[in-house]
């Protein structure tokens, strides 16, 4: 299932990360900002993969924990906390909330689970809209970061990169150990998983917690960078949707899938919709529809098939894909 990576694979990955580390030294600020957004989506997608991809529970919760982390950083930084400390507290708090919510929610299956997580995200937003501590619908200001745009663009970029690398490493090690096998068994057949001795409740909760801590961290970075938060902004269900879509595009349940999906699509899409800024969301919609129809198992799977059958069979593979799940 998940074979440990070879030295070459690690080397290539290391080169990739190295390139991302060097990139800001010779790039414009707006390029760096774009990559920061890509990394943020990659974090959300990788996190969603824990619960949605590996465990098979379609969650809309990333937006909930992203917003939660953002608000915790905002509130704590206003109280004078160190930024990095707020990230740690935010993700720990996100993890605890995920644990408490997960115990009842993860008893639900299928669409009921999806709706419950959607309800959680919306409930969080409504609370942020009404509580005094979050500034209500008026939003909340954060302390401005000190330093010029060159400095803070890089500061936020490297913070995001750090979270992304952490999320990736955790996912890699989870999938290469018992935990990952257990999660996949639950996705494939939950009753049979219990019968092979897997504590399904515990495993599902672990997956849900893992899928919540990293979005909370990313939310914290986002908050400090934005310097101003509104509930509708950070509890946007589109964060969850993007996480799901990018993972699906790349390949559900694979470690590289969420990364490939986010990098490729966000980057390509960026070119596409700089031409049609007004129709940004429509283009994303079209990409979603086409990829669901033609790449239901994601790009990683497509690459594998192409390697086996050759590029010439691309048309046949796509035709086959759209026939696969029809009535």
């Amino acid at each position: 299932m998940f074979k440990p990576w070879s030295k070459i694979q690690w080397f290539l990955m290391g080169m990739g990360v190295f390139a991302l580390i060097l990139m800001p030294s010779f790039s414009e600020n707006d390029v760096i900002r774009k990559w920061m957004d890509i990394l943020m989506i990659a974090i959300l997608a990788t996190s969603w993969n824990f619960i949605g991809g590996l465990t098979g529970y379609p969650s809309f919760a990333p937006a909930a924990f992203f917003g939660l982390g953002a608000y915790i950083t905002a509130i704590l930084m206003n109280a004078g906390f160190n930024f990095f400390l707020t990230l740690a507290i935010g993700s720990a708090f996100g993890g605890v909330i995920a644990l408490l919510l997960g115990i009842p929610i993860l008893r639900l299956r299928g669409h009921y689970f999806a709706i419950a997580t959607f309800g959680v995200a919306e409930f969080f937003r409504e609370m942020a809209d009404n509580l005094r501590i979050t500034g209500g619908g008026d939003g909340i200001n954060l302390p401005q970061i000190i330093g010029g745009p060159d400095y803070f663009t890089r500061f936020f970029y490297f913070s995001m990169l750090g979270v992304a690398v952490l999320a990736f490493l955790v996912q890699y090690f989870v999938t290469r150990h018992r935990l990952g096998y257990g999660l996949v068994a639950i996705r494939e057949n939950e009753d049979a998983a219990a019968m092979t001795g897997i504590d399904t409740t515990k495993y599902k909760i672990i997956a849900f917690v893992l899928s919540s801590v990293f979005p909370a961290m990313a939310g914290g970075v986002y908050a400090y960078r934005a310097a101003f938060l509104e509930p509708i902004d950070v509890f946007d269900i589109l964060f969850s949707i993007k996480a799901i879509v990018m993972t699906m595009l790349g390949g559900v349940g694979t470690v590289m899938g969420p990364l490939v999906g986010s990098f490729l699509m966000e980057y390509l899409a960026d070119y596409l919709w700089s031409a049609f800024t007004e129709f940004h969301s429509m283009l994303l919609g079209i990409i979603i529809v086409l990829s669901v129809l033609f790449l239901p198992r994601g790009l990683m799977h497509l690459f594998q098939e192409l390697r086996l059958k050759g590029w010439r069979s691309l048309g046949a593979i796509l035709r086959n894909n759209i026939q696969r799940f029809r009535v």
Binding site: H111, Y112, A116, M282, G285, I286, I288, V289, L293, V327
Partner: protein, 288 residues
């Protein structure tokens, strides 16, 4: 007195809610599709009524059948041409597909209709009956009654017609329905078309009493989520019960906690119901 007034408001609102949710429940129950486009169909129905009224002066209640027919055709085409292709894929694929379609349609709606809030204002919009200090707006009563009639019609259709029976057979057992000669692709498309038609009609009704915009659709959708989960999916009486409960909860929530928390209360009830009875209050076991 205020309690009775709120009770009346809740019931009137609940009837509309039921009507909003019933098509969503149908599509979910029969095909196990969480139809993100549902709110969009409502929104489009509302706009059909709005434009017919604004451009040609068509009375909003007369445009209901037009909404229904147009959106039935659209729904049928969407299911036949797109969703049927992935019906057997893991269930969140259909969810994502309808989400993608929603993004396209909503963006186009913003382009053509602008993002302004619209409401249909016929001459009789402000009529109301009042007695003993209670106010009962005529329009709300009309919407409520039509909503209930519409729900009843759907109930009758499912129970009595040949197609309705084929839909129920398909829902219970896909494979044996197929063996009995039911054309599944067609039945699915009809079901989806029906869901869209009922949604559009509900949207037409809503546009008379409430303001709509292209982005109202997610609000409608989240109401449908909550109502179906409270009532249990796939049965029409569940949608009615869920609609009434949500109407009551929201209005009394607004009274006690302030209008800002009205929606939050709805989500709390949603999550509570899921905890206590994962299949909804009137739901049956065995559907995911």
């Amino acid at each position: 007195m205020i309690y009775i007034q709120i009770l009346i408001n809740s019931i009137l609102l609940g009837g509309i809610y039921a009507c909003i949710a019933v098509g969503f429940s149908l599509v979910w129950g029969v095909m196990n599709i969480l139809n993100i486009l549902h709110g969009t169909f409502l929104m489009l129905g509302g706009y059909i009524t709005f434009w017919l009224f604004k451009l040609y002066g068509v009375d909003p209640f007369l445009s209901l059948p037009i909404s229904a027919i147009v959106m039935f055709a659209a729904g049928y085409a969407i299911q036949r041409g797109l969703i049927n292709k992935i019906v057997r894929a893991p269930m969140f694929m259909s969810l994502i597909l309808t989400f993608g379609l929603q993004m396209i349609v909503v963006r186009l709606a913003i382009y053509f209709f602008t993002g302004d809030f619209r409401t249909v204002q016929p001459s009789y919009a402000s009529f109301s009956i009042s007695f003993y200090g209670l106010i009962i707006p005529f329009i709300r009563v009309a919407i409520f009654s039509l909503g209930v009639i519409l729900t009843g019609l759907l109930f009758w259709f499912m129970a009595k017609t040949r197609t309705g029976r084929a839909i129920r057979a398909t829902r219970m057992d896909l494979d044996s329905a197929q063996l009995m000669g039911v054309n599944i692709g067609n039945i699915y498309a009809i079901t989806y078309g029906l869901g869209a038609a009922v949604a559009a009609t509900a949207g037409s009704l809503v546009s008379v009493g409430f303001a709509i915009s292209p982005v109202s659709d997610l609000e409608f959708l989240s109401k449908a989520f909550i109502i179906c989960t409270i009532g249990g999916l796939g049965n029409i009486s569940g949608a009615l019960a869920g609609g009434l409960i949500l109407g009551l909860v929201e209005n009394f929530g607004a009274l006690y906690l302030g209008p800002g928390l009205q929606n939050a209360v709805g989500y709390v009830v949603l999550i509570l119901v899921l905890f206590i009875r994962p299949t909804g209050l009137l739901g049956r076991k065995g559907f995911e």
